[in-house]
Amino acid sequence: MSQFLMPSLGADMESAILMEWMVKEGDTVTKGQVIAEVETSKGVIEIEVFEDGIVEKLLVEPETECAVGMPLAIIKAGADNTLKAMKKIETQTIVKHNADTSKIEPDKQKKIIEAKEDNIEQEERIKISPVARKRAQELGVDITKLDSKKDVIHLSQIEALGTIKVKAPEAAEKKEETKERDGMRQAIAAAMSRSNTEIPHYYLSTSINMTPALEYLKELNKKRSIEERILPIAMLVRAVVLALKEVPELNGFWQENGHRMSKEIHPGIAIALRKGGLITPALLDAQNMDMYSTMEFLSDLITRTRLGKLRSSEMTKQTITITNLGDLGVESVYGVIYPPQLAIIGFGAIVNAPWAEGDALCVRKVMQATLAGDHRATDGRIGAQFLDKINKFLQNPQELL
Amino acid sequence: MELDLMKAKEFYHKMLLIRRFEERCVELYSNQKIRGFLHLYIGEEAIAVALMDALTKEDAVLATYREHGYALARGVSCESIMAEMFGKVEGCSRGRGGSMHLFDASARFYGGSAIVAGALPLAVGMALADKMQKRNRVTVCVFGDGAVAEGEFHESLNLAALWKLPVLFVCENNLYAMGTALKYTESETEIYKKAASYKISSKQIDGMSVIEVAKAAKRAVEDIKDGNGPVFLECLTYRFRAHSMFDAELYREKAEVIEWKKKDPLLVFENRLKEIGLWSEVDATAIEDAIKTAIDKAVEFAENGTLEALEDLEKFVYSEVSHG
């Protein structure tokens, strides 16, 4: 039995308002299941439970503001057998009240032993090798769905499942748009001023000829329906992800113990809300996506962001930020790094501009790519390499697939 | 001491048994029936035979890895010793010990140690127990001249003397610690003098003469049983064979071996019996035949012995005691 607490979704989050329960008492929940929505200074966030069990009691009514760490519900361990769970509680009580077990009558002693054995049974879990578990996570394979009653799951089985499997995005529910909250603007202000005082930024910028990429995209989209069309932003995100694989120094965090690179690439995508404000939710595990799935998950992310239906992990795991203000006609974006991230990359508007090709001067679609990096973690050389990689990928757009 | 015909026959029989038994062992080793290390006692038989003669059944014996002679003289059967060297369950240590680790608790024969001087502290402890229990027994501890260099030798002698324990220490000085001559390893080569420095009654005797060793042993055991504390005997002897089977004997001259062979304890004893007119009555031929028969029987017994089941491999690591 355990308490389900108000999670901390960021270093600067102190409390949140419980908006809605998505489960009721008696419901069975599984690890990772979203069971509530909370309203934070950064928006409405779905929060998930971290164990399998049964919701025994909901402790907090909706619309209540709760501090981080406050118990919100009681979850009973073991989803399958309430009786066994009850027995466990009983056993604990007995043991507690009879510290000296020699004084318990033999009959009762037997019961305690039996109850203990039940506990062991009840803690049955998926047997999966450590490396298989890790790989499953990388590939997005949901191991709870695998049949593992008999055998141990090994790496080969996970790899056989092969292709990327990420949970299908939930259908966007019709829901009244939440009012713009003053809190959000405040949160952004706090983060940005902290960034500017703490982080020594360096800035780099380069012009990128987008003509090859856009033409390639045009060809690609000819074969696809309107819903399936790939937008330039997906291509840009994809170029960033691939460049980060080659220059991983910019992907990660600056923490108390210094520079820490992340294996996973979770780019935070700056998304403007219709009623003002900006959120940068993470496109989780973008390193495992191809161009098509990048587009697919990106549009899902944008939709959910605008509906205020983001996951808590999407609000906390960003390893770099991508901001694209090109649709507003801005040519260059000099971003401010979101701590504890290491960099922010900005893409400006794509404009017709004179471009030298060989000895000839011609007009091309040109975009400014700008990088702001944390000078404590990297230097301009790394930043330049990174921009150069992005450029190379955009000049060879078939590699972005 | 009185040397009647019966004792004469017994001594001769036992010394010859050890000699022939070990000669057969060499053959069996060469045929790979016996493996591991095989250290031969040939040349030193007089000491084991005479020492064991001085003991009662209640006394205890601790020896070295060169202990076939002691086991045989103590009365451990040829069959069980041979079976042990064949690695059979019928062996005196169930095939677990081999040549270097012969044990027989019923004969109060405590083996069989392959660590030089390793048995000396044990002998002190066994004697201590006898003293505490007020049992009038002797513990005999035999070791070679090599053991004298170990710290345990000195520590054990001191303890036994300090606590006046009933131990008979017997050093078989065959002049070589394995392959290194005593003169290269000891500043004082008169070993009995080391014991004397611990205030232990000690003397050096001719280890090639069964009669002399028997006399000295008898007196020593009586002395100890009278409660006078430990006694130390240094027996000068010589092994006619190499240290173990795999030894090229680069460390000693052939001439030296030949010289010592003139003092062969069997030969010395035969001559002595001739002098006193007992030899013709000993009937050496009959003894030789009886020994051959006994050894043949032992080899056959060992050949036909059983191998321990593999399931029992992990036996005897801990005592099989029932805890109810």
């Binding site: 090798s129 450590p130 490396v131 298989a132 578990r133 890790k134 141990v152 090994h154 790496l155 | 493996r35 591991g36 290390f37 042990e84 690695g87 059979k88 240590s93 095939g95 677990r96 010990g97 081999g98 270097m100 680790h101 140690s113 392959a114 660590i115 030089v116 001087a117 390793g118 090599g146 053991a147 004298v148 260099a149 170990e150 710290g151 610690a177 394995m178 392959g179 290194t180 001559a181 290269y184 390893t185 000891e186 030894d247 090229a248 680069l250 460390y251 191998l307 321990e308 593999l310 491999l313 992990e314 005897f316 690591v317």
Partner: protein, 326 residues
């Protein structure tokens, strides 16, 4: 030029070379002189270098090992030979309480450049006082380095490496290897202390081993190859320091681990390797790690029992097959 030689001769050659090059090197131990060494390693060296530098000692393990430490403190480079690892127990006090600790106790003032060589291992029916593999025990002790040459090349190289080291180094020579043959390169740069070697690359299972077990593992690897199981065989070479990097890289490659060690399992070097893999590469494992070690019994004399007690190629093959689900 044919450089084929035996393990025994390789050790002897290395000692000879060191003694020729450096006057402060000397050899001391039981029967190393007139007898020529219990395992004939030092045969002929007495004639060549004289009794001043090839020193026969009494059976006084504690004292002559301690004397080696003293000589090392005072400018010499002694090689102490202890006849077998079993006898080293009599010198354990000096090894542990002096050799391994003096540098630290003295606040870095007194290093002990001592080399101790000894024979180790079972398989010759020498029973329970002459057959054990205790090198893992010594690897427990900070301040010591523990080398386990398996190949003829290492038998040669490790003497020189150990002598060049400023601290006490123990070399464990498996007695069954003395007759093994191989070629040696006496001119090349030896693989340093603390570096493991991949003897056979493979992708399915990593076998970590050392000493004589290396050859059992290689034999098993051949048999397993016929089943389509491609094992990687790694000779640890040094038990202290352990080459974590090579071990973990191999684990990352194969995700499966078998450790072959003639020591017992409990509290052993095999247990230590498992613990380190658990600490450093847990998420790389695709199956529980397995060990082929000596059965937890003092080694018995009878051949069939001794064979059953020791690691054997077939046991390695069986363990690997089980691990691969075959």
């Amino acid at each position: 030029m044919d450089n084929t030689t035996t393990y025994r001769e390789a050790v002897r050659e290395a000692i000879r070379k060191a003694m020729t090059e450096n006057e402060s090197v000397f050899l001391m131990g039981e029967d190393v002189g007139h007898y020529g060494g219990c395992y004939a390693v030092s045969m002929g060296l007495l004639d060549e270098f004289g009794a001043q530098r090839i020193i026969d000692t009494p059976l006084s393990e504690s004292s002559f090992t301690g004397a080696g430490i003293g000589a090392a403190l005072n400018g010499m480079r002694p090689i102490v030979e202890i006849m077998t690892v079993n006898f080293s127990l009599l010198a354990l006090d000096q090894i542990m309480n002096n050799a391994a600790t003096l540098l630290h106790m003295s606040g870095g003032q007194l290093n002990v450049p001592l080399v101790i060589r000894m024979a180790t291992g079972g398989g010759k029916q020498l029973a329970a006082q002459h057959s054990h593999s205790l090198e893992g025990w010594f690897a427990h002790i900070p301040g010591l380095k523990v080398l386990t040459p398996a190949t003829v090349q290492d038998a040669y190289d490790m003497v020189g490496l150990a002598l060049a080291d400023p601290d006490p180094v123990l070399i464990f020579e498996n007695a069954l290897l003395y007759n093994s043959k191989g070629s040696i390169d006496t001119q090349g740069t030896p693989v340093p202390i603390g570096k493991a070697l991949i003897h056979k690359a493979g992708k399915d299972i990593s076998i970590f081993t050392y000493g004589i077990s290396l050859f059992k593992a290689l034999e098993a690897a051949e048999a397993l190859a016929k089943d389509g199981i491609d094992v990687e065989v790694i000779d640890l070479r040094s038990l202290r320091p352990l080459d974590d990097e090579t071990v973990m890289n191999s684990v990352k490659k194969t995700h499966k681990v078998i450790i072959v060690d003639e020591g017992w399992k409990s509290g052993s070097i095999s247990a230590e390797i498992m613990a380190r893999i658990n600490e450093q590469a847990f998420y790389e494992l695709d199956a529980p790690m397995a060990r082929v070690c000596t059965v937890e019994v003092p080694l018995p004399y009878a051949k069939h029992l001794e064979d059953a007690a020791l690691p054997q190629p077939q046991k390695i093959v069986d363990t690997a097959r089980t691990m691969m689900g075959k």
